[in-house]
Amino acid sequence: MYGAKSSSRSTGLFLTLCAAMLLLAMLSQQTWAAGARGAAKSALAPLEQAMTSVAARADRIAAIFGDVSALRAENAKLRTADEQERRQIVELQAAAKENAQLRQALDFQKSWGHKLVAADVIGAGPDALTRTIEIDRGTADGVKPGMVVVTGAGLLGRVREAGPHAANVQTLADPLSRVNVYLSKSGLQGTLSGGPAALALDVQHTIGVAVSNGDWVLTSGVGGSYPRGLVIGEIATVTRRDTSTSDLAEVAWVNEPTSVSFVLVIKDFIPS
């Protein structure tokens, strides 16, 4: 009998706590609670930043044995320079093709140059079901939900939530991430989805044009969530589906969220 009473008390406690947490979730989700929620989340940001610094320092100390640190830094610098140059080449090629087609028809002029704010990555999402990162800039620095986040290599994701001094960024690898894109060589359009293994691209069939490996993927601007022309990655594999109106492709993303330590938030593009 004691066992049964104890069991029912535990169940009662479980149900009470569940109800309380569900109520807390519903209340904290409301628009009027956004300020308090952001402030509470920003409270942990200094601790996350300190822990990330400790991790970086531990990496450096461990790398002393074998001089891996110097080689890694040089490798990273070369990789960054290479990625930046590749991004610029792809952007220039895509822009040249687009301008040749649109210049006479629309008198369209694209302006480059955005207002950016630099931020350090101080943390990641708490579990494998989300692929988010935490940065050390927030509303006090002009960062707002919906703003686009990039690195020197290309598009990283979008600000999902912002507190006063920290913000949560949904990366393209998040399973809920969706980006409208186009391919630089073929001009085909599609939708890019996040996932645990690779970025998946669903490309619409067009007569006479096919997706090919090595084609670069850029944001199309369709939908207004991202500006047009941001580099995402390269087509790695293609799965042709004759019984469907679209083909599937895997995209080799230019960014690796677990190794990104520094990002840029585009402040002057407001998604529609």
Binding site: F14, G123, P126, A128, E134
Partner: protein, 157 residues
């Protein structure tokens, strides 16, 4: 201790990713506490740990706490019916707890209006995470046992 584990989880744990999953240190700790100290302690620390994880994630505060509460309760149901608990049972409860945790998170997100994830992706990530957490939990329980041995029991009044 849970604050430290939550911070380590969001700063270091993602570097240990295998098949898209990385260890959920707070979940492992809650399962371990439930094993060692009973369901009440597991539920209360699950609440605390869950709120800490919610503060590091986007979205409302509460879903991760709800998920950890469910995992702790399932662990207590399993542990209660064992005559001879051992490391294998601890690992299995961690795996089951991970599945319950993930399902609760997805259901709660659905209830709160968040877009649903692809079921195949959730299944893949949950399976990988369940194995990861199952492997680490027996070591975590041993660590909790040794930590408790270091702290002297308070003398009865």
């Amino acid at each position: 201790m849970l604050l430290a584990l939550a911070l380590v989880q969001v700063t270091w744990a993602s570097r240990l990713s295998i098949a898209g999953a990385f260890p959920n240190l707070v979940l492992i700790a809650v399962v371990g506490i439930t094993w060692m100290q009973g369901v009440r302690a597991g539920l209360l620390w699950g609440c605390v740990g869950g709120v800490l994880l919610d503060l590091t994630a986007s979205g409302p505060v509460g879903p991760h706490a709800l998920a950890l509460l469910s995992a702790a309760y399932v662990t207590s149901l399993w542990a209660r019916n064992l005559e001879r608990p051992n490391a294998a049972h601890a690992a299995l409860t961690a795996g089951a707890g991970t599945v319950v945790y993930s399902v609760t998170l997805v259901l709660t997100d659905g209830l709160l209006g968040t877009p649903a994830m692809d079921a195949a992706v959730v299944a893949q990530l949950t399976f990988a995470a369940a194995i990861y957490n199952a492997v680490l939990t027996p070591f975590a329980i041993e660590a909790i046992r040794r930590l408790r041995a270091l702290v002297p029991d308070p003398e009865p009044a």
